[in-house]
Each structure stands twice: as structure tokens, then as C-alpha cells.
Assembly symmetry: C3
Homo-oligomer: 499 residues x 3
């Protein structure tokens, strides 16, 4: 049914403007030509794009919106782009000189990957805000940290059974791609060109990419830029609605290590969201508290531009997702003030380890924001809370959270003392802190259980995530089992029977 | 942007009736004044209230509804309240004499917390039904039970590492607040007054509350009443729609200890709900089976007023959430008939423990409802089932459930025998039945795994919660590991090496 | 309120055609009579049916639809059925001679259970496609496999504590019904007749069925047919919308053993589905990619008839749910090519065990589809992918999946070597490979953790299911704990202290 003849016929026809668009806004001739084939070869992409604002509005119109309602942040846009809708060629045809993944395709030079730099033509502020964040740098922040890679290898490395023991390999690039880098982002490199057999065109030459496909937040793109806007604004609808819904964040922020989504959906906020969301407006800009939504989603608290019904700004839009966060709840191995910079590979704790805290809980102060910085960010967040809560309510809430962080970190300290005791007594081997069963039980304490309690506290709900579901129950139970197993092993070794 | 000047200007203006309401129903002058500031300071609350029935209808109108459609149950309402909508002051300004949390705020005496007694002005029957239930008494039912508190302390108490062993503290009030009392409810007490700095008013004096914020079902309020209506009808929308949706119940009834929501959403009923809910009417009173919904949610089975399409009552509304329940599936440590009274701290089993069953499974008969009481409640529930199922279908269903409860309780008995054997042989120490790793494994059997299977059976679906997900698989596996660990410990102790 | 008098009155009235239907299509006199009572006794069922296409359209009209839009596949339908809507009697009154569950009910002979053979009157192709599949044969595929039943017994059999050890019974039929057969389907047999007391009719005689109620995919029906269409098209709405939504598949395909739903909802596809589904058309036939939906659900990839917006077929409808699958990711104990036949009890691996692979990973080649068969199915699936993705994208995706399956199977092999070492050294007893704690830990590797990673890879998302949530983290951690526990036991046995 899909024949090359059809393509040839199409190529011979004059290309009518507006033909494949939505019929209301002008489409470039280049994009028209893309659409002619792709409406047949990948109809889902084309329809998705046709549903988008990109297909319905030209940048010149978008620029005329009043400031608070504007969805593009660049003050000026190249004239060639202002009069046509944002179609295939407008995105895939940009900056091809700096794209190692550019290639010749039916008479056009295009890029496989549209990068944040390409998007920044119209969305300059968002791209700039994002570029220096922990998210943008997520690839390097992981693979550039020797301790984290030791952990990754201990999890992902193949374990062969040789002489009644394990021979452990390093993590393969494939297993890293499927796990950590699925969220952190891969390094996409062009290995050369390859031949691909397609239905419509037969054999074509395309770039041969490593680490592909991937939409991780810190993807290293073939133009050297960092990130994938499609991580949150998938894929050709570029939807603000999807990005504002918590399912987007849930792709990576879920239990057991980062149980933000799990906690949220069982919280009071999540309850209201899940019950009432069909009546909310997820597309309105600015996003009006009480009017467009009556309970926060992730993006309400962390990054959206919010106003009250009188158009007074409650919170400015930001694509630096830490800018309203003062404490980093995520335990490494304790909670600590947010890092000063997005590049966290530079951090060294007082023991010289690439961690933001020592094993006794001392923060790596110089690398973390100070009191004033924390207070400034706290005020940005509480401004959001104040949309629906009294000052007393949210002050009480955050005071509770502070106490909880302290209590849980106290339990991490105890578990670390148990672990250190085992290392000292040689019941465990401290040459690699992650490659033994008992060491992974220690990691469970801070990597899973502590985070579950802290996130539950922060989102003021889902008490079961603080209690039984990966919470205090497991924190205490696993601590007791750690000691039991160490005792059993110690006695077994002392009894003189060697393994 | 939010200036005190604005406030002053507002205060000087005459207060127009209807100005801040929905424009259709009269608003009291006091509430108008509340709204004048709060539309600026907490717009989310105001908008939420404006979306509610409370803002659109005065009680006098509501009382005229025919009986089945009526949403207020009080036969008479103080005249001062019947002619204005139910606004800020109508709720926060009630019964201030009996509220320890009342305070002076801009010329009005108001309460921080609106309690069930306040709501009972219009919703007398619901408040009365609720007041004596296990839910209303949930705070005391936990903290007044010495055995449960021993468990709570063993989970939540800080464990310090001293001399190669743990020194265990009791649970802090903060950790109780974050976990158990998040659902059971805190005791909210007024510690005095405190100064709070606010944007609009500068420094104000407000009551200093302990155990706050909290919306647990058994919260002890500063007026001495029990409960928080906002636990299920959040927060200023007082929505019946939200209360009827299962996400509300899911805040507390979730895995691993009470996996009602988790089982429901994977069941046939949950499948139909999740697939079709956008086409249902969650606001209609009475709730018409087949017409407003085509599969039950939690509230259909447990408390809503249901009729058939001919307005014949299938089930009466109740806010005693046990009134359609005969068996308490939740294992303590076995299933048993529902308690006679909401105050379950009075229960003593035959061994004198504050538990509804003995460790061998004997029910504490005098404290639990008898056969006739069970049959009466069973009939209330099966009337709901009969809306969509033949008699044979639901009889077969409940016969299956009875068998499953018996089989699972048999497995709890075996695990308890294993535990008792360890206590007798001193492999475990029976002075505290919850503070050792092996004892927490025993608790897993009845507190997590048994409940998963029983709830899965009760909701006739989600077979994986009976099989692999915290079900029989774990029940058997953990039992085998309990024995293995006890054996290892026994041998290790016998081998003469002391720890 | 529900009196027998009412029934008598109703029975005396003339039966008006159209009275209980939707008022637009003719209803048979028999069905009218059913409805007269059941609108009172089971209003939920009647309303559900009234919402269905079955109640609104007669088969004669349905047959006139053009081929791609047709929802019934039989070319000819008995004339008696073509002119009336598909009501109670049209389904429950069919083929009563071959139904052991037929009985006399108010003057009509009807069947309790409507089977796939009954549905095949109008849906012949679907019934035929389904009849030979692994799903249809799911009951026998489980209970007819001695090894799987050994596993089932080790999980479900009651364990009594006798002489400080366990005495293990075989699985009861009740526990099998509640767990495995909840999804696989029960064998429903007629044990005789029984008396049932009903509200409307008093005591009536009905068939006494074993294994009932149940809606498992491989249910053995009293007419000898296999399956329950209501497993996916519940219950009297026969909804294609419900079947197309993933909640339906989620009833059985969920974590920890088959985490398809869990992985899907955290994937990019699931994110788009959950965010945008209210704007999709789940009822349209054929289902148009990009237009009716913009991301796949389970049924998009696995069985729906899909076209592009130009009505060109992307994928044919099938009710053989393996027909687009080449590899069986589900580890038994390794991944392997899909079986040739739906009856998988015939499979024997090279060691003579009823498994599709040996413990070293050799596939049972003769029973599994060959390279050509795999390629043919792969093309059916990739045709679906190509609706929204470039050839390079999905080729890259599946290459990644192939590598991941290989890596994970490598880890299963290592765990199996550890297990075999324990069997050889008699630290574990190999007479039953599933009944010891250490053996269940081995089963965790392939039954839970390997599947989590493989499914995550296959659905290109939810990296946490490949990483921390039952993924590589657990695969490595449990492997290390297996070795630790075996070592402890070995030493404990060697130290000469007997248990």
C-alpha cells in the first residue's frame, strides 16, 4: 500500500501552502515537503504536530501576546522564522553546521536531533535557565563521579560464577543506557553513516548514533548541547499540558529511590488532583491559582509561572528546577543544602570523597548554598504555599519537615556506624563500599528508606510512605537485620570454619 | 505587590453583599469582610470555596430539597445561618466559646479549626454517626493501646549505636505525627499565643497549636471533638465528588498494611472505574446505581446512599464506615468479627492482652459483634452487591472469602508457632515482641502479607495481590526464611561463640 | 420495597416492545421479559447493558457497516437474531443443549455463563483466533505442568508446624482459585442443582457451580469452551473502550512477576496516555493512529486494528495476543522464542523438563517458533511502531532490547550456578527446587527481577524498573545475599551443630 510510486507522484505535484498544516496558518515550503511524505510514513508524528500550538500559530503572532501570557521568551526571532508555523524544517533544519548528526535527506540538510540550542531560538530564557542546572548536567554528574560509578558497577556489572565466587565486570554501556542514563541522559555520538532500508524511500543513508534513542534530561547532544526538551514536552505536540501533569515527572521521580510521584499521588494534594483534574485548565498561561487548578502538581511548586486571579505574580516561571529548593532531601548519604552549582562533580566532603556530606553527616559547606541562599529559595516556595494556606500552616509544615530530616539522618548515622563497625572488624571489606550484600543493605537505608520518609514529610501526606511503605518500618527492620547478619557472619568466621 | 496599603483601602470601602460570592446567593457581611482580604492573601482557598455548593446555596434552600436529594441532615438550623451562604464566618465563627483555638482576628473572634461539632449544625446525622466510630476514636485507639505503642516505639524510636548494640528511644511526637497520626489524627492543643509575620497584616497574634497541621480521621480538636471532615471532604470545596472517589480513601488505605486501594485499582471494579469514570456523575444525590456509576468505588460499598433508577433505596447513607462490615479482615493478629464499640482500647483477649484475638486465634468474644450482628451487617453489604450481581454470584464470592480468611489465618498461626518456639528456646527475647529482626518478620506475616491476600479476596480481583505481590508467595517465603534465620542463629549460639 | 407483588403485577402487564431498551431498536419479547424483573433485581446490569452498543443496534444494521468499521466478524448470523438487539435472552439463551449450566428460569431455558462459543455467533473470527492461544489454554497450561504445580504447591500449600519443622500440604482449590486461576481461569463444573433464596422470586433452583465466580482468560466453561470474553470486555457493556484501556490488562499483567502495566505507566508512552487520554477516542473502529490516539496503549501494540488517517491498514485486528510477539520475554527460566502452539504443556527442554529452556539457557527448539516465524511477527509489531517513529528509532530500540535480554539472562545463569552449587553441596535439597527459602530467592531472580528489567526495556521507558525497582539493583543484591546465606548455612552445618 505504501509504494515508492506514490512518493514520486507526490514529488511531482506542486506544493500547496497550508495543505498539510491546520489550514489556518502559513507553512513553509520546506515543511510542506516534509509533511508530504511523513503524513504517510509516520502519520502519528504529523497528527501530533498538527495538534500542537506550533502548527497553529506563527512566532510573529506569539510575540504580540502580553508578557504574562507569552509562551516564547526570545525578544527577537530571525525574520525567516517569524512568518511561518514552527514545522518540521524550522526545527530539524536549524544550526546544521554545529550538528554532527546533520545529514542530507531528500535534498535538505537536516538534523536527527533537535537540541535545546535549537529550541532556544524562540525559547531563549528557558534554555539558558536550564543549561546550568543539575538536570542539564545529569549525565556528567553521574559518570564523572567515581564513587557513583563504583555503585553503578556493583549493581550493573555482570557477575560470573567462577571458583565458587563472583567475578564482577564493570557496567556495560547498554545496561547504563537502560537504567541510570535512561533518566540522566546518554552521550549521543555520531559513529559514521549507515544504510537504512525504508518503506517509502528504499535504502537511505543516515547518521549512525550511539546512545540512541534516549530522552534523558542530561543527554549530551551531537551539537554539544545538554538535555532533551522532549523529556518533559513530548514529542511533537510540545505540550505544556503534559509537562504540567505529574505523570511526566513520574517517569524518573518514583520509588524506591526518589518516591516523589508515589508520595504525591497518595497525598492530600494528589487526592485533589486525581479527583478534580478533568475540570482544571492545564494549558492556560499564566497559570492562575484557584482558577486553573485547586491543588498543586509538581510543576506548580517547582517551576511554573503562577498568578492569583488578579494577575499578580505568585511565582515566576523557571526552568532551573532547584531554584525554589533550599534543602536537598535526597540523601547522599544525608540531606544537605542544595549545591551552589549544577556541576556537582566538583564537590568534595571533608574526607575528600565526591559526596556533599561526610559519613558522619558534615556538609561539604563550601560547595553548598549558605543560609541566605537557602532563605531566598525558601521564600520562593512558600509564596506558592501561601496561595492556599495560612502562614502558620506552612511554617508548621516546614518545621515538621526539618525535624523529620534530622531524625531520619540520625538513623542513617546509626546504620553507618554499624557498617563501619563491620568494616573495622573485617566482617565486611571496605575496599569497595557497595559490592557486598551487607553494604547494599546499608545503602537501602539512605537511598530508599530515608528518602521515602523525607519525601512523604515534604509533601505533607502519604503517611504510609513514612510509616510502612519503605518508611520507618523498613528503616528499623533493616537496621536490625544488618546487625543480625553481621553477628551471624562474625560468629561463623570466629567458629573457625573457612569458606 | 501585596501591600498593607491595599488592605487599608479595602477596609475603607463599603462592603457590598454578593461582591465576593458567586453573585447568586447572599453572603454575610462578616464573610464578605473575610473574603476582602483572603481573595488576595489566599486566593486558592477563596476560589475553592467559590466552586463549592456552600457558596452557591443558602441552607433555607437546601432544606427544601426532597428527602433523598437532601445534603444536609439537620432538621432545623439556627435562623441566623439559613439566609446566607455557608461562608468563612459561618464556619470559623461558630461555637467560639468552646474552642480553645478561638482568637481575635481583625475584629472578629474566630476558630482556627472547624470541627465536626461545627459542621453538625447542618450535618447533624453525619456528625452523630461518625462520632462513635473506630475512625473518630482512631487517635486514642492507637496511643491508648500499650501493645500498639510498643510496636510504634520499636519502629519509630531512635536507635543509637552504643557498645556494639542499639539503645532504643521511644517514638518522638514528631515521628508519630508524620506516620501513624498522619492518618489516625493528632491531638491538637493550644500551647498559648504566638506572633506571626504576615504579608498583608504584618505581625499578628494567633494560637500556637501542637500537632498541627493535621487532617487525620481521629484528630482531637481544641473543642474536644473528634475527627476532621476535611480528611475526606477537602478543603474548602467540601466536595462530595472527591469523597466518593477512591483516591480519598487511598490516602490511608494503601499497601503494604491496608492495601485496599492497591487491590481495588487492579480489580475488575477498579478497571471499570478507571476506564469509565469520566462518564459517571459523582455529584448526584442520591447516587443511582447503573445510572450515575456502573461499578462501585469505596464509598458505594461502604457508606453512600444508593438507590436504583426507580428511587428505591438500595443502601442508606452512613458515616459509620463499619456499619456494612461484619468481619474485620485486618489481622490483629487474626481476622475477627467487628468490635462492638468504636473504642477498641477496652478489648482484652483471653490472655489479657489488648488484642481482639489470642496468639492462637481465639476471638475476644464479648467485645466483638455476635452472629446476629454480623448477619445484619452482611445483609446491608449484599444489598449493594445485588445491584449488579445475582444472589448466587455474591454468595459464592463471600463463601470464597470466608475460606480464604480461614486459610490465611492458618498460616498466621504457623508463623506464630515458629515465633513462640524461638521465644521458648531463647533464640529470641519475648520481653518485647516487636523489637528484633525475627519478630518484625513475624509481624510481616499478619500485618502485610495476610492483609494483602484477604483484601484481594474481599474485592474479588487483583489476584496478584493474593499471589505474588505481598501475597501467598511472601507468606510462604518469609515463613521459610524465618525458620532459616532462627536455625542459623540457634546453631551459631550453640557453637559456643558469644557475641 | 422489593416485593413479589410487584413482580406479579409486572407479569400480568402486556409486554411492550422497546419498553426497556433504549427506545430506538427492537427488543425481543424474551429479553423484554428478562428486563421486566432485572431492572428491579439487578438494575446495574440492565443500565450497563443499556449503555452498550448491543442494546442500541440490531445485527442486521451492524452487518451493513463497511468492512474496516465493522465490529462483528461473522459473515452470516441466524435470522432469528438479526432483527432484534443483542439482549439478555439472545446471549443467555443460546446453545443451551451444549451448556451443562443451562437451567429453567421463569419459563425459559437459559445458561448462567455466556461462553466464547455463544459470542462467536456474531464474533466468529475473534473467537476462532482466541481459541488456540496461550491465553485460552491458560488453565491447562498451568495445572497440566507438573513443575509449575510444584511451584504453586510450595507457595500455596498450608504449612503446619510439626516437630519444629513444616509439613506442607498441596495447594487447596480455593487458594488456587484466589491466586493463579484468578487470571488463568478456573474449571467451572456443574455439581448439581441448589436452592437459592432471592428477594423477588423467593426460593429458586439454580445450577451449583464450582470455580465460580471467575473471569480468568482461560476459564473452562460448562459447555467445554475456553475463556471468558468478560475478562477484557466487562460485564454487560461489552465495551471496546474498556478493553482498549490499559487498566484492563493491568488486572493480570502487573508487578512483581509480569510488570507490564507498572512499566507502561511510568514510560513515555504511559505518560502521554495518562496526560491526554480524555481527548482520545477509544470507541472508533478502525482505530486511527495520530487521530484517535497519540501514544499506544497495550491494545494498540498487541491486538487492535489500526489504520493511518487515510484508512490504510497499519495492523490487522487479532485476538491471538502473541501474534505480534516473537520473543517471550517472560523468563522460564530464560527468555526464548514464542512457543509454536498455545498448548505449552507439550514442551520439553533438552533435560526432559516441561520448560522452554534448560537451566543453562538452551531453548527447547522444536517447540518454539523459528527465525522466519520470529521475523514475520517482528514485522507486524514494527509496522505499529512506524506509525510514529523512524525506522532507525525502532531498530535501535529493539537492538537495545536484544542486548538487555542477553545480559539479564546471563545474570539468571549465574544465579542458577549458585543454586546448583548449593544443591551439589547438599546445602540445599534438590528434590523440590522451590520449597526452601534459598530456592525462592533463586526464583526471585528470574520470576521477578529479570522480568522487570526486560519489560522496562521492551517498553522503552520506566528506567527505575530496570534500575532500582525490582531491577538490576535487586538482581545483584539478591544474588549476593544468596551467596551469603548459603555460606552461612554451609559453615553452620560444617561447624558440626545439628539442627
Amino acid at each position: 500500500m505504501r509504494t515508492r510510486c506514490m512518493l514520486l507522484i507526490l514529488l511531482l505535484l506542486p506544493v500547496p501552502t497550508l495543505a498539510q498544516g491546520t489550514g489556518k496558518a502559513p507553512v513553509s515550503l520546506q515543511t510542506e515537503e516534509c509533511l508530504d511524505c511523513h503524513v504517510i510514513s509516520t502519520p502519528g508524528i504529523v497528527k501530533d504536530w498538527q495538534s500542537s500550538r506550533h502548527s497553529r500559530m506563527v512566532p510573529a503572532q506569539a510575540l504580540k501576546k502580553e508578557k504574562l501570557a507569552r509562551r516564547i521568551s526570545s525578544e527577537s526571532i530571525p525574520e525567516a522564522l517569524t512568518g511561518v508555523v514552527v514545522g518540521c524544517y524550522e526545527c530539524h533544519g536549524q544550526n546544521t553546521d554545529s550538528h554532527a548528526d546533520s545529514f542530507e535527506h531528500n535534498g535538505y540538510t537536516i538534523n536527527v536531533i533537535v537540541s535545546p540550542v535549537d529550541c532556544s531560538t524562540c525559547h531563549a530564557v528557558e534554555a539558558r535557565e536550564y543549561s546550568g542546572t543539575k538536570k542539564a548536567l545529569a549525565h556528567g554528574n553521574l559518570v564523572g563521579n567515581s564513587l557513583y560509578m563504583t555503585l553503578a558497577d556493583s549493581i550493573l556489572g555482570h557477575k560470573a560464577w567462577i571458583d565458587e565466587g563472583f567475578s564482577v565486570a564493570v557496567a556495560s554501556s547498554n545496561s547504563l543506557h537502560e537504567t541510570c542514563l535512561g533518566c540522566h541522559g546518554t552521550r549521543v555520538e555520531v559513529r559514521g553513516m549507515k544504510t537504512m532500508d525504508t518503506d517509502l524511500l528504499g535504502e537511505i543513508q543516515i547518521p549512525d548514533l550511539s546512545g540512541w534513542p534516549n530522552m534523558g534530561v542530561g543527554r549530551i547532544n551531537p551539537d554539544g548541547s545538554l538535555g532533551s526538551c522532549a523529556a518533559c514536552h513530548p514529542r511533537h505536540s510540545f505540550s505544556i499540558e503534559i509537562a504540567r501533569k505529574p505523570y511526566t515527572c513520574a517517569q524518573c521521580h518514583l520509588e524506591p529511590d526518589v518516591p516523589a510521584w508515589n508520595v504525591y499521588k497518595e497525598s492530600k494534594h494528589g487526592n485533589i488532583y486525581l479527583s478534580m483534574k478533568e475540570k482544571w485548565d492545564f494549558d492556560h498561561v499564566p497559570w492562575v491559582a484557584g482558577q486553573d487548578f485547586t491543588a498543586p502538581t509538581c510543576s506548580v511548586c517547582h517551576n511554573s509561572l503562577l498568578t492569583n486571579p488578579d494577575s499578580e505574580v505568585i511565582a515566576e516561571r523557571t526552568h532551573d528546577f532547584s531554584s525554589r529548593l533550599w534543602v536537598r532531601l535526597f540523601s547522599l548519604i544525608y540531606s544537605h543544602p542544595q549545591p551552589v552549582k549544577g556541576d556537582v562533580t566538583i564537590i568534595r566532603n571533608d574526607d575528600g570523597l565526591p559526596l556533599p556530606t561526610t559519613f558522619t553527616g558534615e556538609p561539604a559547606t563550601g560547595y553548598l548554598i549558605d543560609e541566605a541562599g537557602q532563605e531566598s529559595r525558601r521564600q520562593k516556595m512558600t509564596a506558592v504555599c501561601s496561595g492556599c494556606h495560612s502562614t502558620d500552616w506552612y511554617m508548621g509544615h516546614f518545621a515538621k519537615m526539618d525535624r523529620t530530616v534530622q531524625e531520619v539522618d540520625g538513623m542513617i548515622h546509626t546504620a553507618t556506624q554499624v557498617m563501619q563497625s563491620a568494616w573495622e572488624s573485617k566482617t565486611a571489606d571496605d575496599s569497595n563500599p557497595f559490592d557486598e550484600a551487607i553494604e547494599k543493605r546499608w545503602a537501602l537505608q539512605w537511598l530508599f528508606f530515608a528518602n521515602s520518609i523525607k519525601y512523604s514529610s515534604a509533601m505533607t501526606g502519604a503517611p504510609d510512605y513514612a510509616a510502612f511503605k519503605n518508611g520507618w518500618w523498613e528503616l528499623s527492620r533493616n537496621l536490625e537485620e544488618m546487625k543480625e547478619l553481621i553477628d551471624l557472619k562474625t560468629r561463623s568466621q570466629e567458629s573457625g570454619v573457612s569458606k
